[in-house]
């Protein structure tokens, strides 16, 4: 089981602040996600979902407990190790966070450039293909300002998936989108992830997209639990 696990979180605690202001944000988190699984994490705002996501993504260093991502322990890892760990992940944010001075194509290429082993031409082809896969082959040379919200989020997905990451972490990817674009975006994510066999951990409030999940986990007040009964939602 654990051999197949892409993410293993064991007895993870996390604190913010220091001294008297120190406040515990996560309490004894235990979570195991198999490779290829799509897991949705929901829960009220402020419950610690994003904190957990940033810990798994290596954006924050874990303080106590154990956190294994694709076999690497990143609890207590150095900044350098964290930077390397981040390169295995595709990150999709609530705000698309595309670079405004770069075209859609250049934005996607930046995600390949960080690995440093592809030539400029290879990056160009891979990025163009990826944009075609999210249905933006006509828009590759557009700047983000000239794209709609849904299109921008699709570029962000292309950027997250172009380097075939083992793990995709998505933080409210549909929050800023209308129903139809939101649906399109998660469908694209689901299809591409299945094709590439990557694991997805998606944080959302959006009930309309829960159906893509293989499993749903619920977080409240820094603790993971079974999802509450539907009427309590």
């Amino acid at each position: 089981m654990s051999k197949e696990a892409a993410i293993v979180v064991h007895q993870l605690d996390h604190y913010f602040g220091s001294g008297q202001l120190r406040k515990q944000a996560l309490f004894n988190i235990n979570l195991e996600i198999r490779a290829g699984e799509i897991v949705i994490m929901t829960g009220p705002s402020g419950s610690g979902k994003t904190t957990l996501l940033t810990l798994i993504g290596g954006l924050r260093s874990a303080q106590s407990g154990s956190l294994k991502v694709v076999g690497h322990e990143i609890c207590g890892a150095s900044e350098n190790q964290l930077v390397r760990a981040r390169r295995h992940n595709g990150y999709i944010f609530q705000a698309h966070n595309l670079h405004g001075s770069l075209t859609a194509l250049e934005n996607v290429q930046m995600s390949l450039e960080v690995h440093g082993h592809l030539s400029k031409q290879q990056r160009y082809y891979r990025a163009s293909e990826m944009l075609a896969e999210v249905g933006l082959e006509e828009r590759t040379n557009y700047y983000p300002a000239d794209l709609s919200g849904g299109q921008k989020q699709r570029v962000a997905i292309a950027r997250a998936l172009v380097s075939h990451p083992k793990i995709v972490l998505a933080d409210e990817p549909t929050a800023a989108l209308d129903k139809k674009s939101g649906r399109d975006v998660v469908d694209i994510m689901q299809n591409l992830a299945k094709e590439q066999g990557c694991t997805i951990l998606l944080v959302t409030h959006d009930n309309r997209i829960l159906d893509i999940a293989d499993r749903i986990v619920y977080m409240e007040d820094g603790r993971l639990s079974k999802p509450p009964a539907p009427e309590a939602d």
Binding site: T54, R86, N97, S101, M110, V114
Partner: protein, 394 residues
């Protein structure tokens, strides 16, 4: 070596993020370029003025045609040489190796501009016509023209309105005007340039000089010009002259005398300090403007930078982007700065008759200063990058 080639290839292959960012926001780019251009022009003008002052105040000392120079121990500079006794020159001729020792008379006179009838202060040089004092062929060819009493050569680069007068003299019609109570005739022209203390210069014979300066005696000399016989080492003769002559005069080599003049300007006049301060101000203005632009640029890209870090880019990559921008800005700002400064030099030179020129070394100095300016601003601006922490932004 292999590593170097690999780095070069990576650099060539990388997306030029800094350049793209700058290109994307044209207004910000123009602001930055304008700021650097302004700072560079300011620095160019200050350095140009300082250099012009040093040069214009040492033009005659530089042009002296002599191996050694004798001057009063009380001499401060070319404008305040004081005098020493002509006897010293005769004594100097006894020293082995000395071929000739000639007197040069210098003084400031009030002369009336023949065109405007205004009084201005001119440097009057009286020299031995048989032994040209300056290495200026233009003057030396015309020395015959000042053999007649009360005739002078006029520096056409003098400050002031002399256009009509110059045309007349060029056509061979002598122009008359007044120095003190005497009427003098301008019989020829030469070109050296004005200095700060005098608006221009007149050259004449020693005899005429003494006529125009009734209070000066022939025995009171401003400078002694020593020429050496071939084969004698100036330094050795200088030492024997210094030993032979009393302490009321000092003996310097030609270069030593130029250094004496420069040293006086640099230490006694506020030129170095004033223009150094001016250049520093230009530099600081540049740093502030570039810092503003770069830090605004970093600020407005914080979310994007944080995203890059979340993707696995290192902080050094982002530092590189900021310095890339700084480097591009310094080059883009320097080029118009240099071009405008060249134009401003010409305008200023025409207006003030100061010898303003742009030596390559100054252009290189200012380019380096521009790099330093942008580098310093970039270094300060990178502190804002700390805020691009992906964990805090999302």
């Amino acid at each position: 070596m292999l590593g170097f080639i690999k780095t070069l290839k990576t650099l060539q292959d990388r997306t030029p993020l800094g350049l793209l960012q700058l290109k994307h926001d044209r207004l910000r780019l123009l602001t930055a370029i304008a700021g650097i251009t302004f700072a560079d022009i300011l620095i160019f003008m200050q350095l140009g003025f300082a250099d012009a002052l040093y040069k214009s105040n040492t033009q005659y000392p530089r042009a002296l045609q002599s191996d050694l120079v004798i001057l009063s121990t009380q001499a401060k500079n070319f404008g305040q040489l004081r005098t020493f006794a002509r006897r010293r020159l005769y004594q100097a001729q006894d020293v082995p190796g000395v071929l000739s020792a000639d007197a040069l008379y210098l003084g400031s006179v009030q002369w009336r501009n023949p065109q405007t009838r205004q009084q201005t202060s001119m440097l009057l040089v009286g020299q031995n016509l048989a032994q040209p004092a300056f290495e200026l062929p233009e003057i030396n060819q015309q020395l015959n023209a000042v053999q007649l009493p009360d005739t002078v050569l006029f520096d056409r680069a003098s400050r002031g309105d002399y256009g009509e007068m110059i045309v007349q003299v060029e056509q061979g019609k002598p122009v008359t005007t007044e120095i003190g109570l005497r009427t003098v005739t301008v019989t020829g022209l030469f070109e050296v340039g004005a200095s700060f203390s005098d608006d221009g210069a007149l050259i004449t014979s020693d005899q005429n000089f003494l006529r125009l300066f009734p209070r000066r005696e022939a025995g009171a000399v401003s400078l002694g010009l020593i020429r050496l016989e071939p084969g004698y080492d100036p330094k050795q003769v200088r030492a024997s002259l210094a030993a032979r002559l009393p302490d009321d005069v000092q003996v310097l080599t030609h270069q030593g005398y130029i250094d004496f003049e420069l040293n006086d300007i640099q230490s006694e006049s506020p030129i170095g300090f004033v223009f150094g301060l001016g250049s520093a101000m230009g530099f600081i203005v540049g740093v502030v403007i570039v810092y503003q632009v770069l830090s605004t640029d970093v600020n407005s890209h914080l979310a994007e930078y944080a995203t890059f870090r979340a993707m696995g880019y290192r902080n050094t990559y982002l530092l590189g982007v900021v310095f890339e921008e700084a480097l591009i800005l310094s080059v883009l700002g320097f080029i118009p700065g240099l071009i405008i400064a060249l134009g401003a030099y010409q305008i200023t030179a025409a207006a003030t008759a100061l010898p303003l020129a742009m030596p390559a070394s100054r252009a290189a100095t200012v380019l380096l200063l521009t790099f330093a300016m942008c580098g310093a601003s970039g270094a300060v601006a990178t502190r804002r990058l700390q805020a691009a922490d992906p964990a805090d932004i999302f």
